[in-house]
C-alpha cells in the first residue's frame, strides 16, 4: 500500500515545501548561522505567496512574491544576527513569534479577497494521458517538486563543486581561517541568509500556493522546524537532507491516511523526529559546521 502511486504523490506533496526550506536552512547552516527564525520566514513567504497569487491570478507570481518576502526577511535576519550581532537562537525565536503576529495581522486586514482559493499551480492531466500509468504519475508530481529538485542540484553543485561554495563552507567551518584568508565573513553570511531566506519564502509559498491554496494563522505549524530537523538528519549534506524531508513527508502522508492504514496518526508524525534524534545519537558530530550558532566578532 505504501508503494501506491497516489500515496507516493501525496508524500511528495507534503515533502515539497520541506525540501525547499531545508535546502535554504542547509545553506545558512553551512555558512555558520543557526537559522532558527526559518519558521517565521517561511510564514512570511506563505502569506505573501497567497497575496501575490490571489491578486495577480497567477500562482507563479505568488511564488515570486514568496521569494521576495523571504529574501527581505532573510536580510532582516542577517542585519540582526550577523551585523549587530545578537544571539542567533533567541533572535530566531523572537522573530518567529513576531512573524505569527505580523502575518496574521496583514492577513486579517487583507482577507476580504483572500477568502477565495488561490489559482491552482498543478498541471492538469489530459484525458489521454491518464490511461498511461507512468505518464499520469509524472504529471501528478507537483510542479514545485520539480523546482525543489532543480534547486537541490544547483545548491549541491554550487556548495560542493564551485569556488563560492567553498568560501561559504569555509566561513561556516572556521571564521578565523576565513578571516585570515581575507574573506569578508559578514558579507558571506549575509548572502547566505538572503539565499536561505529566499528559499524559505519559496517553501512557504509552496505550502500555501502549491498545496493548501489558502492561508490561515500560523499555517506553517512547525514545518520550518521540521526542515531544520531534516538538515540535522541529513548531517548537513543535501542528498541526505532531501531524504530526511521525504521521510517527514511519508510520516505526514501516513498520518493523513491513518484511517485506511490503521495506527495512530500522531505516532506516524512522531516517528521521524525520533529517527532524527537516533541519527544524531549514532553518528559522529564532527560533521557539523563548527561555527554554527556563534555570533561573529571581529578581532
Amino acid at each position: 500500500m505504501i508503494f501506491d502511486p497516489e500515496f507516493l504523490l501525496s508524500a511528495l506533496r507534503v515533502a515539497t515545501p520541506l525540501m525547499i526550506v531545508a535546502i535554504g536552512v542547509l545553506v545558512a547552516e553551512r555558512s555558520g548561522v543557526l537559522f532558527l527564525g526559518v519558521e517565521g520566514v517561511m510564514l512570511c513567504g506563505a502569506l505573501f505567496g497567497i497575496l501575490g497569487a490571489v491578486y495577480s491570478g497567477d500562482p507563479w507570481i505568488g511564488v515570486a512574491c514568496g521569494l521576495a518576502a523571504g529574501v527581505v526577511a532573510g536580510l532582516v535576519t542577517a542585519a540582526l544576527v550577523v551585523w549587530i550581532p545578537t544571539d542567533q537562537v533567541v533572535m530566531g525565536l523572537a522573530m518567529n513569534i513576531a512573524a505569527i503576529g505580523a502575518t496574521s495581522f496583514v492577513f486579517r486586514m487583507a482577507s476580504g479577497d483572500l477568502q477565495q482559493m488561490s489559482p491552482s499551480i498543478d498541471w492538469s492531466v489530459p484525458s489521454w494521458a491518464s490511461d498511461v500509468p507512468g505518464f499520469a504519475f509524472l504529471l501528478g508530481i507537483p510542479p514545485l517538486a520539480w523546482v525543489a529538485f532543480i534547486i537541490y542540484i544547483v545548491v549541491w553543485y554550487v556548495l560542493f563543486h564551485s569556488a563560492p561554495g567553498l568560501l561559504l563552507r569555509s566561513v561556516g567551518q572556521s571564521v578565523k581561517a576565513a578571516n585570515s584568508a581575507g574573506l569578508n565573513v559578514p558579507w558571506v553570511r549575509t548572502v547566505a541568509l538572503a539565499i536561505a531566506g529566499g528559499l524559505a519564502g519559496v517553501g512557504g509559498a509552496a505550502l500555501t500556493v502549491g498545496w493548501v491554496r489558502s492561508f490561515s494563522d500560523d499555517i506553517t505549524a512547525g514545518r520550518g522546524f521540521i526542515a531544520l530537523a531534516a538538515v540535522y538528519f541529513g548531517r548537513w549534506y543535501p542528498r541526505w537532507t532531501l531524504l530526511g524531508c521525504l521521510l517527514f513527508g511519508v510520516g505526514e502522508a501516513l498520518a493523513l491516511r491513518s484511517q485506511a492504514f490503521g495506527g495512530n496518526p500522531h505516532l506516524y508524525l512522531m516517528i521521524p523526529y525520533v529517527l532524527t534524534i537516533c541519527v544524531l545519537a549514532f553518528s559522529q558530530s564532527g560533521r557539523a559546521p563548527r561555527e554554527v550558532g556563534k555570533p561573529y566578532e571581529k578581532h
Partner: protein, 351 residues
Amino acid sequence: MKAPQISMRLDGFQLFSNIGIFGVSLLAAMLLVAGLVELVGGNAWAALSAIVSGVVGSRQAIVETVLDATPTALCGLAFLIPFKAGFFNIGAQGHLQLGALAAVFVTTTLSLPAPLMIPLALIVSALAGVLLMAPALLLKAKRGANEVTTTVMLNFVAIEFVLVMVTGPMQQPDSFFAESNLIPSDYRLPVMVVHVGVFLAVAIIVAAGWILKRTVFGFRLDALGGNPSAAEALGMRTGATLTKAVLVAGAIGGIAGGMQALGVVFQVAEHWAKPWGFLGILAALMGRNPVGVIFAALLLSGLEIGGRNMQAMTGMPASLVFLLQSVPVLLLLAMRSTHLFKMISFPGANR
C-alpha cells in the same frame, strides 16, 4: 555556544539603564502597533487603552493574568538556569506537555489521600520533565549535538506523544474529542484566590534567584557560562555542574505543566497548551534574573489577556499582541548588543 552576559550584580546605574532600555523597547513596540492600527483605519489610542483596561479592569482579568503568567515564569526559569551555564534549553514546551500528561496519568489512575497524591503528582511531572531532558543532555555530552535542535525535536516528540495518548490509551471513554479524563476534584490544587501552585511557583523562583546569586552553585554556573575552559582549568567539575543545571530545568518545566494540569485545566487535550514554553524564553531574556522573570511573565501574560479585550472592544486582531510580546525583545537584544548601548549599560563590565 557562548551565553550572552547576564549581569546579576546590578548597581543603581545599571539597573536604571536596564529599565531605561526596557522601557524604550516597550514604547517603540507600542508605537509600532499604534502605527499599524492607525494604518488600517483603527483608533490606536482606543486599542492600546483597551489592552490596559483588559488587564487591570477587573478582578477576574487580574486573576487570569496571574494564572497565565505562572507557567510562563516557570518556563522562563527553566530557560534561565541552564542559559547561565551556556546551555540553550528550548525544550520547556515539551517538558510542560509531558509533565502535565504525567500529572493527569497519576491522578486519574491511582487513588491515594489527597495530601499524598498532589505532591506525588508534582514529583512525577518533574520526573517526566527530567526524562525528556536527558536525551538532549546525553547527546550534547557524548555526541556534541547542538542542544537547540535536540530540544526543539524533543518538543515535537512530547507534543505528538501527548496526542497519541489522548487519542489512544488515555482518551476519555465515550468522548468524541482528543481529551483525557478529568482530574478528580479531590486531587486538584486548593484555591486561595488563585490555586496554591502559584505560590509554590513564586517560592521556587525566589529560591532559584537566591541560589543563583548567593551560592557556590550559582557562581559555578556563571563561571561555566562565562568561560568553560577557564572553569575546567580551575578544577571545576563542569560536567556535573551542567548536568545539575540542565536536569533541574527539565524538572521545573515538568512542574510547570503538572501545576497547570492540577490547578487550571484538569486534563490534557488537543491544543490544551498555550506557547508558555516559548513565551518563557522571552520572559527570561526580558527579566534577566529569576525575580525579573516574574515581572516579565506578568507583562507578557497581561498583554495576551488585554489583547483579547482589544479584539472584543475595537475589532483589531488579537494577533497584534504577538508583536507587542516579541518586538520589545528583538529591540532589547539588539540594543543590548549594540556597542554604544553596551558602553552605556555596562560601564567597565564589558569585555
